[in-house]
């Protein structure tokens, strides 16, 4: 069963639906002998895609696991150390598995506006918008970032596990004939995150990083590479930048960033820390907290669902009605009041012991040193302060609904 851990890890903390069937936590938990599991990860490794930085990770001693079809570093020095490094200093994530679609031409604006729930009219050149693709059935195809380079040029950054699904969806909706390019396989992405990220990157670029405000970007020279997209975004809540560039420069930029960050104690960080960091902030993870069956309104993403003039997006009518009538369930954040770690699929109960939902994401918060998690419950149980109980294997542990983010940076 121990060999199954790297698979368990995926179902516990990451987005992929691809592995969920065979990595159900309870199955492997009670699977005593490793024999039936032992070869599965090994075999699947052979079919895994690699990022341009795969050799760097291996050389650093990273533990590599299959994730969304890629062989990705899950941890280097350990999730706790990496997590704290990002919160207090600076850490680097290889997130080259993420997908990038260009949408260009005179029809681009209308296509992106129709595809996404947020209002594209509010997005100016050089800015980034968090948004989602409603799926035409009240759910979500994916959540994504939209970068505006110009009225006729957008970059859509989507989840790795959804690249194929999103690409099909975007093309199906492209009735107007916008130009679409799937650049996912050619673009590498590094997330340089943490309060010291700007210090480090400023050594490598003439671009004034202080001038790049949250959710804006500049395409400029970095580490001698021209036209690197330097974006003040991230999935950690720790501040910092995400860098996009062609694969061929990945090694060069990686090395330059680590050289520049020596003084700041820069460290590589893996998917495990990325997950604990995002969960402390209450950021949704597609496949865990949002999916084709959850509405953006239920997920607390009303702020990216804009019912304004000119934003005629897919599912607008349905979602507007849902907003008017009120959602029946809501995604809430909770903290455990007792020692324990909530994990995905653990049952959520009310005070009477009746199951009212299940955990969609859960972890031990390295900063709060407490179990935290999210899950959908009916609206009457969604107010902060509400007592809930999480079934952690054979124990029912008391929890309290709290406002997110769980962790507020100093």
């Amino acid at each position: 069963m121990w060999r199954a851990f790297c698979l368990v890890l995926l179902s516990v903390c990451f987005e992929t639906t691809r592995f969920r069937g065979k990595t159900d936590f309870h199955l492997s938990f009670f699977q005593r002998k490793i024999g039936t599991f032992v070869h599965k990860p090994v075999i699947s490794f052979l079919f895994m895609k690699k990022t341009a930085l795969s050799n760097k990770h291996t050389a650093l001693g990273a533990r590599m696991v299959p994730f969304a079809g890629f062989l990705m570093p899950v941890e280097y020095t350990g999730v706790m150390d990496e997590h704290r490094t990002v919160r207090k200093g600076v850490g680097v994530f290889d997130v080259s598995h993420m997908g990038e679609f260009w949408c260009k031409g005179p029809k681009a604006y209308n296509l992106v506006q129709r595809l996404t729930s947020n209002d594209l009219a509010r997005l100016q050149d050089g800015r980034v918008q968090y948004t989602c693709f409603p799926n035409g059935r009240g759910g979500i195809v994916d959540d994504l970032l939209v970068y505006r380079f110009g009225h006729e040029e957008y970059l859509l950054v989507v989840n790795a596990a959804n690249i194929e699904k999103d690409w099909k969806w975007v093309n199906e909706q492209n009735n107007g004939g916008a130009e679409l390019i799937n650049a996912s396989a050619e673009i590498s992405q590094l997330a340089v995150q943490g309060p010291l990220a700007a210090n480090v990157l400023q050594k490598l670029t003439p671009v004034d990083l202080d001038g790049i405000k949250y959710y804006t970007f500049v395409a400029g020279e970095l580490a001698g590479v021209k036209d690197v997209i330097i974006s003040a975004t991230g999935y950690t809540g720790a501040g910092g930048f995400e860098l996009y560039f062609p694969n061929e420069y990945a090694g060069k930029i990686w090395d330059a960033v680590f050289e520049a960050g020596k003084e700041e104690g820069i460290k590589p960080a893996g998917l495990a820390a990325r997950d604990t960091l995002r969960l402390e902030m209450g950021f949704c993870l597609y496949g865990n907290d949002i999916d084709d069956t959850t509405s953006p309104l239920e997920a607390g993403l009303g702020w990216i669902t804009r019912f304004v003039e000119g934003n005629d997006f897919i599912d607008r009518e349905f979602l507007e009605k849902q907003k008017k009538e009120g959602v029946k369930r809501k995604l809430v954040g909770f903290e455990l009041l007792e020692r324990g770690i909530p994990r995905q699929h653990y049952p959520i109960m009310d005070a009477s012991g009746k199951q009212v939902g299940e955990v969609t994401s859960g972890t031990m918060s390295p900063m709060l040193n407490r179990g935290i998690g999210m899950g959908y419950v009916e609206v009457s149980l969604a107010s902060p302060g509400t007592r809930l109980f999480i079934q952690v294997r054979n124990k029912s542990l008391e929890a309290e609904v709290v406002k997110m983010p769980f962790y507020k940076s100093e």
């Binding site: 890890l9 516990v12 706790m80 495990a272 770690i341 972890t363």
Partner: protein, 126 residues
């Protein structure tokens, strides 16, 4: 991979070290590496007599959780008190300070069915 020669091992990655009539039990270096950072260890079986292969507790890491199994039958005499406040010793010193329980084995012949260091190493390399 550290696999001390003076221990016996289970296929579930526990080790056992016999000292006279008593024995110490913990998890292997491989196990702690696979688990990642250990957050806490829950052992509520002190004083109980358990059979070989029965769960004596659970170990929770940030990203994973696992049951802990008795390598041989016996009575759980003591739980390592250091684990309560310093669970990370399991990561740092799995065969030493990170021991988990002290037991009185009820049938020492059960040790023969466990893996030798060489057999355990072979299992890991499979």
């Amino acid at each position: 991979m550290n696999i001390p020669k003076n221990l016996k091992y289970t296929e579930d990655h526990e080790w056992i070290r016999v000292e006279g009539k008593e024995a110490f039990v913990g998890v292997t270096d491989f196990a702690q590496g696979e688990l990642g950072d250990v957050v806490f260890i829950e052992i509520e079986t002190a004083g109980e007599s358990l059979g070989k292969g029965e769960a004596f507790g659970t170990i929770e890491a940030v990203k994973t959780v696992s049951d802990l199994f008795m390598p041989v039958s016996g009575k759980v005499e003591e739980v390592n008190p250091e684990l309560e406040n310093n669970p990370e010793i399991v990561n740092k010193d799995p065969y030493g300070k990170g021991w988990m329980i002290k037991i009185t084995p009820s049938d020492l012949s059960e040790l023969d069915s466990l893996l030798s260091p060489e057999e355990y190493e072979a299992l890991l390399n499979k």
